[in-house]
Symmetry: D3
Amino acid sequence: MPKIALFPGSFDPITIGHVDIVRRAAPLFDSIVIGLGSNSQKSSLFTVEQRLEWIREEFSDLKSVRVEEYQGLTVNFCKQIGASYIIRGLRSAPDFEYEKNIAQFNKAMEGVDTLFFMTEPALSPISSTIVRDIIRNQGDPSAFVPDSIKRYFKK
Amino acid sequence: MPKIALFPGSFDPITIGHVDIVRRAAPLFDSIVIGLGSNSQKSSLFTVEQRLEWIREEFSDLKSVRVEEYQGLTVNFCKQIGASYIIRGLRSAPDFEYEKNIAQFNKAMEGVDTLFFMTEPALSPISSTIVRDIIRNQGDPSAFVPDSIKRYFKK
Amino acid sequence: MPKIALFPGSFDPITIGHVDIVRRAAPLFDSIVIGLGSNSQKSSLFTVEQRLEWIREEFSDLKSVRVEEYQGLTVNFCKQIGASYIIRGLRSAPDFEYEKNIAQFNKAMEGVDTLFFMTEPALSPISSTIVRDIIRNQGDPSAFVPDSIKRYFKK
Amino acid sequence: MPKIALFPGSFDPITIGHVDIVRRAAPLFDSIVIGLGSNSQKSSLFTVEQRLEWIREEFSDLKSVRVEEYQGLTVNFCKQIGASYIIRGLRSAPDFEYEKNIAQFNKAMEGVDTLFFMTEPALSPISSTIVRDIIRNQGDPSAFVPDSIKRYFKK
Amino acid sequence: MPKIALFPGSFDPITIGHVDIVRRAAPLFDSIVIGLGSNSQKSSLFTVEQRLEWIREEFSDLKSVRVEEYQGLTVNFCKQIGASYIIRGLRSAPDFEYEKNIAQFNKAMEGVDTLFFMTEPALSPISSTIVRDIIRNQGDPSAFVPDSIKRYFKK
Amino acid sequence: MPKIALFPGSFDPITIGHVDIVRRAAPLFDSIVIGLGSNSQKSSLFTVEQRLEWIREEFSDLKSVRVEEYQGLTVNFCKQIGASYIIRGLRSAPDFEYEKNIAQFNKAMEGVDTLFFMTEPALSPISSTIVRDIIRNQGDPSAFVPDSIKRYFKK
């Protein structure tokens, strides 16, 4: 049975923090699906298409990584794609408390276990929220986003 | 290259919380070494030999899991046994803060990454410290320890 | 003077975590009022009537427990019903930080003291938010809600 | 059945923070036992006799409060004195994490439930540790200790 | 080069907690600018004009303190007014986690460093959120706000 | 009146994390005293003389910074050297909780206020404890200590 993991998020947009977690997890799995959860109730800065494209471009060198959009409960999407594991990064204690409940819920509901990686110290202040704030205020986000997005903002 | 992981601790004694983490991690690795760190400065309730025996007995059904004693820096022991990953359980936010620094240090020093699993909710109050307190006060630790130790205390 | 306590919340819907706290607190008080705070600014998944009915049904065996809707500051509702104590459950450190400020405020304003109970380990991942997420996504919430709600969803 | 609660601690020495918790809890119980846990492994600044005397003096006005020394597991002492509840104050998130595990353990082992009170904001920096530091360095602890101890240090 | 610091916030309304931080920071700087960040996306209880007036009135005795409205990234406003430091109060661990990321971001982007003061224990439960809740429910906020606002509510 | 600040610690040994805080604080004060608290109850890896020498060497370029040994309460040493401020770095939430109580105590006792700086993200896993662990196990601490100590270990 192939080892498949899901890396879920809204990736609005993907940051170098996200990229680092996926690349560290890649050697452990036969396949990693980056799941872009699109929630109709939550407004986003970038379109789903744009977010998917940036992710696809960033991981074009890694055959075992692909990106897919999903809706509804994350644990249901895991079942659909055959993922037995979820991958998450942890930056801080509040991250931990939030993730703990979700991980315990996913395990209790469907037996899907979650693997956590500690964010690199230098990447820990980075979040999509901060990147969106910079972009909304005409700042330069290039220190926090991967090359695919850097190119977009330099155009 | 085989995927080898270290699960380090002092296991004085091993609890059902530890056992759960190892069994959840086992499918991800070719080999898991439970590393019993014996620190001459820290006094223990049980001898190293006793602690090793309980662990060996508990995992006799899992071919990919073995136990070894080590001294010195955990990251050095990883290099010695060829482990690219460390496995740890997380119970609480203070656990998280403590583990974060160590994980970041191990990655910075030798490139050894740490994978974290969230403790099962029902197991989160369990720790070796509490088990030792019960035993020191002639209480019954059987709700918190694996069968190998239960048998020992029923003798 | 009878000992009266308030257990406030929005109960959208009530979970087995809430039920456990009320049942543990019941022996300490002559009367417990479950106060359903209905806030016109916050949208809810279930109507106030439905939420009240589920709570009433769940505690029909406990004469000292009743449910009432209220609006405005919780501490004002305490004065209105003669409650000298508020009851709350604590699941996690973020819960603690949030509750600490409110408890200190209620004591400073009106001398109403708050009693906290620790959530049972197995119930700590449960919240109304997670239950609503399951229901919105056509999942089965029956592991997290009391019998009165289970029956409703099996109809 | 009388409602009996235990307020355990080492009280080396008792502070105005401890006193506040006992006085707030008193109206809820028929009897409160302040349990001075004397642990032979832990060295203390004041003798058990001195610590007991200060507590006795402080609560001489409250008939329902008495002090007793105990050894071994707190939960065993509860059974011995017929206490169904333990009382504790919470000052901070680390306090919370520490107390959570102990409370869950006591409930799982013997069904003894713990009630938590939030420390008054102005009392939250106070601890026996800080009082001992002041005394060891010939400072004046009178802002942090009850009258019985103030009198002792003014002699 | 004069030492200029920014104290940013939305001050909806300013509380005695905010006032305490500014007065403690004043001796360290040649000039402190209280920056009222007005965010068009976030609705406020009081108008920008009213909030500015209360702040101006409160600090009329301190020549080195003035108030200004700003929009956009806080770090950009620092550059505009020549501030090399940001001042913030810390009440709790969640405050700390939130502020840490922002402070690290501001330092990485523009070299603006942040100085933190611990909130006085007695002021730690106070926040603009709680003050707004009281006012919305026709309560009396006078224990939590400075004289300029007290006078307004007594009119 | 000159603005004098104390940066207290045991510095066993000083790390690049400590050095960063002192250099960031230096522009705000006329004089900074690095106070090496030598506590006879606590054993240290390096002698007081060695620790003082490394600090002196590291800050030989900064005229306003000097190092002194002290014993007893930190707040008493502040009075002795005329310091109105204490400087501390904050790495994590547990740091915060620990420092909060001490800062509030120092302010309540002698009116000495504490200024906190957030540790740089890349420096946050560094502590004297980790450096001592490396040295005790014959590892290379040079990534975590200033030049004065690096030279010592290369000799």
